[in-house]
Subunit: 246 residues, 2 copies
Amino acid sequence: MSSNDNSFALEPVGTLRSCFGQKFGTPRQPGLCPHATGHIEMHSPWDTPDAFRGLEAFTHVWLTVIFHQVPHDAPLRPLVRPPRLGGNQRVGVFACRSPFRPGRIGLSVVRHHGWDYLDGKFCLRLSGLDLIDGTPVLDIRPYLPWSDTPADARAGWADAAPDSYLEVAFSALAREQVTELSHHHPDLEALISEVLAQDPRPGYRRGQADERTYGMRLHDLEIHWRTTAKGCIVESVTSNKGVTPY
Amino acid sequence: MSSNDNSFALEPVGTLRSCFGQKFGTPRQPGLCPHATGHIEMHSPWDTPDAFRGLEAFTHVWLTVIFHQVPHDAPLRPLVRPPRLGGNQRVGVFACRSPFRPGRIGLSVVRHHGWDYLDGKFCLRLSGLDLIDGTPVLDIRPYLPWSDTPADARAGWADAAPDSYLEVAFSALAREQVTELSHHHPDLEALISEVLAQDPRPGYRRGQADERTYGMRLHDLEIHWRTTAKGCIVESVTSNKGVTPY
């Protein structure tokens, strides 16, 4: 962490608790997985309903965050390789959203569901997340459609949402396990389907079946799945309490 | 500037040079004044075409900035009074865009016009600005329409762009001065009209003519104007070189 005269010291207003405990499986942009839920545990003095008065008029908020899993001393380069381009083409760091960027600053627009007390902590509930559990949140502000959507904006090679890459099926065992877990996780099948449809594997695997069984954590659950000729199949969904607290 | 263990030290990647030298007249959101131009002087090691490679495919960028004219030790409160509500209603700091917020973090989507060397400095050209000259820029990233515009977003009391409040006329003198200045400032009439249409006066003056003559700086120019029964009239536009360098 540099601390020369030109830098600004920014303190998080809260910590994100997310269904994503690890980078693998976390969507690359917000909104791709509407059932990806979580909340921000607000820090003092921002852990008060006053700080959110009036937010009920808005459906979405911008989160300014730190990509804390990027090492703070990771070498920063002007050129990076975004996964969207298959990982083998280099573009400028200011022409993409790579987390390997100055200050490790992230920006994400997500749906909010109002504040609440969870385990005695003052929280803002969220969905449509693309951020990992433990992410420090620097700021929260309402999304203003008329101001945040320039009518004539264009985005070249990233002009449309990525296709859903994988068709997702469930084994008989996995379906039974999802049903058993449904009282704790009512939208679990939707969440798993949304996450796997993005194909969390490295970009160069896209469109190819492979022989591996992949493991992935969502909430406190361990998901095992593998690719098939048509897409992928979820083999098992097991509780893994004690590993990921959220 | 706090610097406890929880804070992150963020270093600006550049400094904004804007036509707005002061808060008075600066639009409250980006895009309201398309002719409000400026550029970011990039700092080393980001002052290189590599860092912007591929940005030509995108029309707009997000700027993450510091509202540096808010004193860094300004007392931060959970409730603020946004000008949009006339300045007399309090809302939560996370339910509005007030610069009096944690970390003084600002967020602005503006049009870019590519990089260039200006006075020997590597710069990114911008328009549609709502930021003051000298603003430290922490990050620049491309605007992605499909990701940054949730289709069903709603924004309550701030759901539409503010009306243009003032009809703008020019005195014969002002029109002559604008014509004389047009080789340095080709879109000056449009810029002045866009800025004054927003009515830069405090919210409680809105809809009322008053007797004052107002002074406002744009680029290196001093603009004098007053309200009339129908809107406002620009009285003079004079060069003020040496006062604002940009």
